[in-house]
């Protein structure tokens, strides 16, 4: 076990290094830079700015300077804000995005599997169709439309729901609902197909023939086994939810990390692009690792030596 984890961590570190390097190269090959503005800024002022942020140095040198800093856990100064460093921004934005994401995940985990089970138990009958229609509707409306509709028709008409912003629990209701739609639908559909598969297995038939009540069969055997595939996608799902959705954050005015990431790219805020990318990559990789490990505990059939295959 320990050996396996060490190996996985080592591979992950190499992966992250590759991501850093590629993003660095990519970022600097995209045109545009953080300091151009629609102004009469004379060349001297522009050069002062480049100098301050070390952008006047050759790229390989900038790269090594960056890596050295990174090893100390310092993501550097943002090129657009003189108030917050990149570390500050991540420290502030991540909990916001993560809170919203977890809340959305809870909603998805409450209703997704239930919908899936209902659908599977009534395959090709109306409850199946109904729950799948609900699930698919959730992923059929783009979130920028969903968010706008939520604001226009729910928040505007329900007095205790604030229209947008951040601060109280009421502020989190609509955005987390909007965020939950996608994973909810995904989980429901996954649950449905894995339930169907399990219900066709011999041991379920055996259990049934033994005279165990239907609800007991479903709950004790089918659901418990059908939940496995959901555990395996949870890693990606959680990491996607944690880092936040820039669309939902933009529409609802939420000071999360997803928004910082997108605006850093359009502002060419180099340090913030690097910082958020690395942070995302780490979260994704850690989640995948955790899921792999969790899988071992949930499903003893899987052996670590097979590298999670």
């Amino acid at each position: 076990m320990a050996k396996y984890i060490i190996k996985r961590v080592a591979i992950s570190l190499v992966t992250i290094w590759a991501i850093i390097t590629i993003t660095f190269i990519l970022m600097h090959s995209v045109p545009g830079n953080p300091f151009r503005s629609e102004s009469k800024m004379p060349p001297g002022v522009y050069e002062n700015l480049l100098k301050k942020y070390g952008l006047d140095k050759p790229l390989p040198e900038q790269y090594t300077i960056y890596l050295k800093r990174l090893l100390k856990g310092d993501f550097g100064e943002s090129m657009k804000s003189r108030v917050e460093t990149v570390n500050d921004m991540i420290n502030r934005g991540f909990p916001v995005s993560a809170y919203l994401g977890l809340q959305a995940l809870i909603i998805a985990l409450c209703f997704g599997p239930a919908l899936g089970v209902i659908a599977a138990l009534n395959q090709n009958k109306w409850p199946d169709y109904l729950s799948m229609v609900i699930a698919i509707l959730g992923i059929s409306v783009p979130s920028f439309i969903m968010g706008t509709i939520f604001i226009q028709f729910l928040a505007r008409n329900i007095s205790w729901l604030p229209i947008a912003g951040w601060g109280t629990f009421a502020h989190t209701i609509l955005p987390s609902l909007a965020l939950a739609m996608m994973p909810l639908a995904y989980i429901a559909r996954l649950m449905r197909s894995s339930m169907l598969e399990i219900l066709g297995q011999d041991y379920i038939k055996t259990a049934k023939s033994k005279g165990i009540s239907k609800s007991a069969v479903v709950l004790k055997h089918a659901v418990r086994n059908a939940i496995l595939p959901i555990v395996s996608v949870l890693g990606t799902l959680v990491s996607n939810l944690l880092v936040g959705s820039f669309v939902v954050e933009k529409i609802f005015g939420i000071p999360g990390l997803g928004m910082s990431f997108v605006s850093s790219i359009s502002n060419r805020d180099y340090t913030l692009i690097m910082g958020t990318t690395i942070f995302y990559a780490i979260i994704l990789i850690v989640m995948l690792l955790l899921v792999d490990i969790a899988y071992v505990f949930v499903d003893p059939r899987i052996k670590l030596t097979k590298e999670g295959r």
Binding site: E38, R82, A155, G253
Partner: protein
């Protein structure tokens, strides 16, 4: 698990509120505090005046600082921190006498040394301030900023605690107005020297204006409250202003409509059009000191040809663009200098110069063909060119309308190319474009803020325009103190510019905003954001 429980409980609570609270009437009698709520759109990059760049910083700074001069309720430039000033006969030496009763928000007196320190600090190359060039009017300002002179060479000096002497490079009648500009606001020398990070935290933040910084929740909101140490505090009626930070224009409008804002600027274009059409009382169309224009890259064929440029400009129906697309009370452009700038006789500079832009939908085609022939090109060659604009709904609509006008009136099919703002700026600098959207918002109320854009190799002269006669006229206007000579030179220069048409002005912007009926006293000066300093809430 706890959170899950919390959700269920709060959902039930929420439901209960829904049932019981449908009657509305949630307002209790708290009119004790008058807090005006509005939206600042973007997180400021810094609230240090020396580091401020754009409107996201300046709107807040305008309320918490005050310069040597300030604007009164009607927008007139009047003494602020200074009680009087003197301009010597050389037309470049200003002496300001500060008021006696001025204090920082922490109680320290505001001194002339503070001003000297702040201005030199902003010019310090180590500060790398983007707006350092606002100080380049001061003698040796630019030299110090680019490392060619020392800090002591900069000609700003505190003669004593209350007297400040400034020497300019050249006469600049608009310098007084500039002292009310946010880059030139002072900072407290003692505070800044003791704590370089003073501007990052409201608890260490010190300012000298009508309001002071109270809360700054990053990317969420900024609250300023009345500054009791402000010398004119009795005139300030608001207890505070809450600027939320919400980027999505449509959401912000929903919040305004839902009563969560008392004031909103900017507004979504479609909303302005609608409010304007129905003559809604909450809409105010403020004037703006700006021009929306298209650059032609005069360095590439066929845009090097003046006839081609003229023809393209002539084929744009500006009135239709303003009436049907922009729809915010903008004025069709009549030149590069916008309206509302007084000349030497107090008349509107624009009106005196008249309309310098020709529109002739039929003649344009002939002219284009002539021009293209001179360059050895045909109409079909025009189809490979594109209009470069930065991603924005408004710019997109106008670009599409112009594309269609050129197609209908000239028979050419240009492409559209939208890129991010930073890419557009970079490509304009590199000359990697054909036609590009641009705009200019004046820094001060004088035609010069527009005119000196287009001198040879000017920092924002992206069309690559270069005309010796034009350069000479601008130089004359900049070096003279004779108002008549100055304005005549600028008039002549604008004519040359519009004959050569390196840019095609489209319209002069406006600044529409919405305010609830109970908000009064908001002043909108031509080149500044709406000011709440003298505003009041009468609920």
């Amino acid at each position: 698990m706890k959170r899950k429980l919390a959700i269920i409980v709060s959902l039930i609570l929420a439901l209960a509120m829904l049932v019981s609270g449908c009657g509305g009437g949630k307002k209790s009698g708290d009119t004790a505090k008058k807090i005006l709520r509005t939206n600042n759109s973007s997180e400021p990059g810094s609230l240090d005046p020396a580091l401020a760049q754009g409107t996201h910083e300046s709107w807040i700074l305008d309320h918490i600082f005050e310069g040597l001069m300030k604007r009164d309720e009607n927008g007139k430039i009047v003494p602020g921190m200074a009680k009087e000033y003197k301009l010597a006969d050389d037309n470049v030496t200003y002496t300001f006498k500060l008021r006696d009763d001025i204090k920082w928000s922490n109680g320290d007196p505001v001194t002339a040394e503070d001003f000297e320190y702040s201005w030199k600090r902003a010019l310090d190359p180590e500060m790398a301030s983007t707006y350092a060039y606002q100080f380049f009017y001061i003698k040796n300002g630019e030299a110090y900023n680019s490392g060619k002179a020392s800090r002591d060479d900069v000609a700003v000096k505190a003669l004593d605690d209350k007297t400040l002497e400034v020497v300019l490079e050249q006469p600049a009648p608009y310098f007084l107005e500039l002292t009310a500009f946010y880059s030139l606001f002072p900072v407290n020398q003692k505070v800044v020297e003791a704590n370089p990070d003073w501007a990052k935290d409201p608890s260490t933040y010190v300012s000298n204006g009508p309001f002071q910084l109270k809360t700054w929740e990053h990317k969420a909101k900024i609250i300023v409250e009345k500054n009791p140490n402000y010398y004119d505090a009795s005139k300030i009626k608001l207890d505070g202003i809450e600027f939320s930070i919400l980027e999505d224009e449509n959401t912000a409008w929903q919040k305004y409509q839902g009563g969560e804002y008392d004031f909103l600027s900017p507004l979504p274009q479609a909303v302005v059009a609608q409010l304007n059409a129905e003559k809604n009382k909450e809409l105010v169309i403020g004037s703006d000191l700006s021009t929306y224009y298209y650059n032609f890259n005069t360095k590439v064929k066929p845009f090097n040809n003046v006839k081609v440029r003229q023809a393209l400009s002539m084929a744009i129906d500006r009135k239709t663009i303003v009436d049907k697309i922009a729809q915010g009370g903008q004025k069709p452009a009549e030149g590069v200098v916008c309206f509302d700038i007084p000349d030497e006789n107090g008349k509107d500079f624009r009106d005196v110069s008249g309309n310098l832009i020709k529109e002739d939908l039929v003649g344009a085609k002939k002219l284009l063909e002539e021009g293209l022939k001179e360059e050895g090109m045909t109409i079909a060659d025009m189809n490979k060119f594109s209009i470069l604009y930065n991603t924005s709904e408004g710019h997109k609509k106008i670009a599409q309308a112009i594309q269609e006008m050129w197609r209908n009136n000239l028979g050419i099919e240009v492409q559209l190319e939208n890129v991010e703002f930073q890419v557009k700026l970079d490509r304009e600098k590199a000359g990697d474009y054909f036609v590009s959207r641009a705009g200019w918002v004046g820094d001060y109320v004088d035609p010069m803020t527009f005119m000196d854009l287009f001198v040879t190799d000017g920092p924002y002269n992206d069309s690559g325009f270069s005309n010796a006669e034009y350069d000479k006229l601008i130089e004359t206007a900049k070096s003279t103190a004779d108002q008549k000579v100055r304005f005549e030179s600028m008039r002549a220069a604008e004519k040359i510019l519009m004959e050569n048409m390196p840019i095609a002005p489209i319209y002069h912007y406006t600044k529409p905003y919405a305010q609830k009926p109970y908000v009064t006293g908001v002043s909108k000066v031509v080149n500044r954001d709406p000011s709440f300093i003298y505003a009041d809430i009468n609920k």
